[in-house]
Structure formats: C-alpha cells, structure tokens
C-alpha cells in the first residue's frame, strides 16, 4: 500500500510571494514523518504541495518535483484528481460534510469512484470506522449527521473518510490542534496503528506530539518574516530531539524561540 515520497528542489508560491524555497527530502513508506517549525515557516504549505492541494489556493503555484515511488506528481498529464485520491489528507479542523450522515461521510470518497454494491459499501465503511477507532462509538447511529459528533469524533470520522479510499499516503495538517487532550491522545494512538498501512506525514505545532508519534522529524525555519521557509534538517526523531546537527533546531526545540 504505502509509497515512498521523494521531493527534490520544490518551491511553492502565492502569487509572486515565495512561501517555501528549494526543499528536497525523502519520506519513507510505512513510517510517520513529523514537520515542526515556527508559525509561517511553510510546513503546512509544503504538506499541501504533496497532494497538489496548494494549487487550489488562489495564486498558488509550485516548482520542482515530487516523486511518489517513481511517478512525478507534477509531471505532464498527471491528473490532480488522481493524485488526491492516492494521497489522502486530514485537515486542521474536522470538516465532515455537514449535510451528510456518518455513513455517507465515510462512503463519500468511494461513491465518487464508481459503483459499489450496498454490501461492499457497508463492509468498507465498517472497516474504515474500525480503522479510525470510531466504530464502537457510532455503529448505532450511522444515519445521524456527522456534524453531531464531538470534535475528536469528527476528526476520527474525517480520518475514516480519508482511509476508506485506501490512499497510499496520509497527510495530516495539525490534526489535533482543535482538540482536547483526551481526543488528542486517541488520535495519536490511531496514528501509531495507521502507520502499519500508510505512509504518514503530520504537521504539528506540538513538539511533544512530534516526539511521541513520529519516526522521523523535519524541522522548518525561515530566516526572517516575509522570507521563504526552508527545510533545516530531517533526521530520526530521537536524534532531532536529543542531538540535532543544526544549532537552530536545538534552539527551537529547547524553546529559545518560536
């Protein structure tokens, strides 16, 4: 299932403003990679270039290459719709479709891609909800609107929706920042389980969270406000948090700025 991501020489722009500059990195399959860094350093922008969501933003533009195994996401003839099907995403704020039931929310992505029998659909929805550790809480009210769930449940619903289409990669943009500590813990546990099946990239503001959930950590920084963000270093999480090779990383992690 999971695929490797190879990024080389990637820059992203908003109109004429360069948001991130010349980033190259490799994300290993079946692992969790965390992006950390101060606000405005472009880590979320970078995440959104990995499934071509950046170009949805008005004025958004990308230069460089992102290889998913061997295929360049920005190559000629690549269909962004297919890219987003292959690289799933979970957003900062839970965003279930407000007019759909819990069941329909999970089935939404599947229904886009051709016809499934009712029984198949029920099967996949159940598996996905179980995969998101939500099944036991909602199995009796699958036809109720998804917006009636608590924030943490909504976010797990969104994760279920994302994994239902079996993507190769799962991108998470600060998935816990709008949640309480208990829900956060539930999501973190879930991430640990999901990495058996997916390549996971997570943006987080919370360094403890990065230390808890990720195998590898990338630190982003910007030299000044208005300057593009850059990748400072990417290493095993243990090393980043114990013995980083760049001074700025250590300063950030020890709370000297950011």
């Amino acid at each position: 299932m999971a695929k490797r991501i190879d990024v080389s020489g990637l820059s992203a722009f908003y109109g004429t403003h360069k948001a991130i500059d010349d980033i190259s990195m490799t994300v290993e399959p079946r692992s969790v990679t965390a992006f950390i860094g101060p606000s405005g350093c472009g880590k979320s922008t970078f995440l959104r270039t990995l499934n071509r969501m950046h170009e949805v933003t008005p004025g958004g533009r990308v230069e460089g290459k992102v290889l998913l195994d061997d295929e360049n996401l920005y190559g000629a003839g690549v269909d962004p719709v297919a890219v987003r099907r292959t690289v799933g995403m979970v957003f900062q704020r839970p965003n279930p479709f407000p007019t759909m039931s819990i069941f329909d929310n999970v089935a939404a992505g599947l229904r886009l891609n051709g016809s499934f029998k009712k029984s198949e659909l029920t099967d996949i929805v159940e598996k996905s909800l179980q995969g998101a550790n939500l099944w036991n809480e909602v199995k009796d009210r699958l036809n109720k609107p998804g917006s009636g769930l608590s924030g943490g449940q909504q976010q797990r619903l969104c994760i279920a929706r994302a994994i239902a289409v079996e993507p190769q990669v799962l991108l998470m943009d600060e998935p816990c920042s709008a949640l309480d500590p208990i829900s956060t813990l539930a999501i973190e546990d879930l991430i640990g389980e999901l990495k058996e099946r997916f390549t996971i990239v997570i943006v987080t503001h919370n360094m403890q969270q990065a230390a808890r959930v990720s195998d590898r950590t990338a630190f982003f920084n910007l030299s000044a406000v208005g300057q593009p963000g850059k990748l400072i270093e990417l290493d095993d999480t243990d090393r980043i948090f114990s013995n980083p090779s760049v001074q700025a990383t250590e300063d950030y992690i020890s709370g000297r700025f950011g």
């Binding site: 998913l68 061997d70 295929e71 190559g75 003839g77 297919a82 599947l110 891609n113 079996e166 993507p167």
Partner: protein, 360 residues
C-alpha cells in the same frame, strides 16, 4: 512507467478505488475552445441550411452541440467522471453566455436606438404641441417630473427608513422589533402596482385629491422604505460594538453616541443604500401611471396637477406605436438607464470610498 505501479497494487478481489496511474489520457488544453468554435460553426451552418429565421434557434443549437460534443469527446478520451465534470463546466459556460446575450442585446439596443434621437434639444423640450406622429419633442417635462417625484419620495422614505433601522439595531428588542423586521422583509416584496393602488384608495378615493407628483412620490416611498431599512441595518451592524462601548464609557448619552459615532461611521454604506433605493424607484412605472397620470406639458409643481415621468413617458410613447414615438421611447429609455446607472455607479463609488474598515 505505469506498470511499476500496477505491480505494487494489491491483488485483491475488491474493486479498488485507487486509480491505476496518476496520469490519464486527457483532452488537450484547447479542447473546450475548439469544441466551442466547432459547435458555433455547426450551429450557424445548420441554421443556414435549414433556413431557420431566428438567431435564438441558432444559438440554442450551438449550445446543445457544444455540450453533446464535449461529453462524447471526454467520455471517449478520458472517463465518465471527467466527462461529467466537463459537461458541468460547459453547462455553466453556456448558462453564462445564454444570459449575457439577451442582457447585452438589451443594452446595445437601448444605446444604439436611443442615441439616434438623443440631443440637447430632446432633453430641453417637452411634448407640448407635438402630436404622436410628429417628429421632435422631448423629455424635459418627464425628466423634471422624475427628479421631483424621486426627490420627494426620498425625503419621505429616507428619514423613516433610517430611524427604523436605528431602532432595530440600537434599541429594538422583543416582539415589536421582530415583527418590524418581518414586515420590512415582506414589504420588500410588495408589487409596485399594489403600492400604487394603496395610495389610490387612501389619497385619491378617500381623501379626494387629484393626480399629482406627490401622490406618486408617496407610493414610491412605500417601495423605498424597506430597501433603506435593510441596507442601513446591515451597515449599522457592521459598526463594531467596541466603538459604541468606548463612547458610552466616556459618559456620552446613547442618542449622541448614535448620532456622533455610529451613524458617521456607517454613513458611506448608508448613503450607498439610499442611492441604490433611489435608482430602484426611479424606474418604476406602474404607480406613476395610476397616480401621476401623465401629461405632455411642463408641470413643475409636484403637489398639483398631473405630471409626467421618464418611465411613464416611455410607456406612453410605446403605446402610440408610430415610428417617431418609438424613437422617442428609445431615447427616453437611454436617458432613464443613464440616470439609473449614474446613481448606481455613484452609490458604489461611495461604498468603496467610505467602506468601514472592518479589517476583512
């Protein structure tokens, strides 16, 4: 390069939703434009070949062909989902074109036909002594009537509307405010002819007054009030509460806070709303027809005797049905449109210039 990806796919019985490859056969970028040109050419060709007199049909044929060809081409080269997406896109474009054509035609007809007769002479003369089939004459009396009636209506409606909005935003609570809000909404939908009939029953039939510009102005003011209330309300709501509280905390009485702080902050938006309402009523014909009656002469006194107005003048000239009168109708239509559009543009100019800085 896609075979590598194929190899990695799990060989499961289930239909995987995952696409085999990220790339797909696609129509070239110029395809929509190309298909559009083709459809228009075919539409015109068919129209000529079948000798269809109406250009409306040519256009409809071209539109249908455009959608059909797009779907077929996309379904063959791409896939069903892409085809649906493309059909939706082309439908939206066709809607746009469908709507733009009549509206453009309306503007073009009015301007080109109107310019034939429009001159200083036309603006400065009345229809006094000009019979329906004569050439000549002008709109001076109608323009004068419109301006007077609209000004009177504004004098009545603007203060009432403004104060009502102040009441709703600054004072209003409870059932009275709720019912005012509801009935303002309902009032927005009153047909202009009903407003005319109302003034007719009260002012003319009950109180026995004859037709006059003022009677028309009263009907217009009924149409204008809800519009003023709504737009003023929106603007007052935009004034940040901190501003009110800051002034109140200084010990300023509430009514002065409203007069000196709230209203001045919102004045740009309020005047825009009033001007848009003015533009709206300036084109009303029906109540004028019932209440102001129309005349060929210059009557500068809106309180006594029949007057004319631009929309009424257009209606009268249209009804006569002679070539010179059609020409006059178009020229008057152009004057009216110019009048309304200038009001609109000025209003929107004010809105942009004095927009409250809400930081959005």
């Amino acid at each position: 390069m896609s075979h590598a990806i194929q190899d990695q796919r799990p060989t499961r019985a289930r239909k995987s939703a995952a696409p085999a490859s990220l790339t797909r056969g696609g129509l070239p970028r110029w395809a929509p434009a190309g298909i559009a040109v083709l459809a228009i050419a075919l539409g015109c060709g068919l129209g000529l070949a079948l000798d269809l007199s109406s250009k409306v049909q040519w256009g409809l044929i071209a539109g249908l062909l455009f959608i059909g060809i797009t779907y077929t081409a996309s379904a063959v080269v791409e896939n069903r989902r892409q085809a649906k997406d493309r059909v939706a896109t082309s439908l939206v474009w066709v809607c746009f074109v469908l709507a733009v054509i009549p509206l453009l035609s309306l503007m073009w007809t009015t301007i080109s036909r109107g310019l034939e007769l429009l001159s200083g002479n036309f603006l400065s003369h009345s229809m006094n002594g000009v019979t329906s089939f004569d050439e000549g004459g002008g709109v001076y009396h109608a323009l004068l009537g419109t301006i007077e009636q609209v000004a009177l209506a504004t004098l009545i409606a603007a203060p009432i509307g403004l104060l009502t909005a102040v009441y709703l935003v600054e004072y209003g609570k409870g059932r009275l405010a709720r019912s005012v809000t509801f009935f303002v909404d309902v009032m927005t939908g009153i047909p202009s002819i009903v407003a005319g009939l109302f003034i007719l029953t009260t002012w003319n039939l009950m109180l026995g007054f004859g037709p006059s510009g003022f009677a028309g102005a009263m009907a217009l003011s009924i149409l204008m009030m809800p519009v003023v209330v709504r737009s003023t309300e929106e603007m007052l709501k935009l004034v940040p509460n901190e501003l009110r509280e800051a002034a109140l905390a200084l010990g300023v009485p509430k009514w002065r806070v409203i007069l000196k702080v709230v209203l001045p902050t919102a004045i740009g938006g309020i005047s825009t709303g009033v001007m848009l309402a003015v533009a709206r009523i300036a084109g009303e014909t029906a109540p004028i027809m019932l209440l102001v009656f129309g005349t060929q002469l210059i009557n500068g006194n809106p309180f006594e005797g029949a007057q004319s107005s631009l929309p009424l003048y257009i209606w009268e000239q249209y009804k006569v049905g002679s070539e010179p009168s059609y020409d006059r109708a178009w020229a008057a239509a152009l004057v009216l449109i110019a009048f309304v559009m200038i009001l609109n543009l000025v209003a929107r100019g004010i809105a942009r210039w004095k927009a409250p800085k809400t930081g959005r």
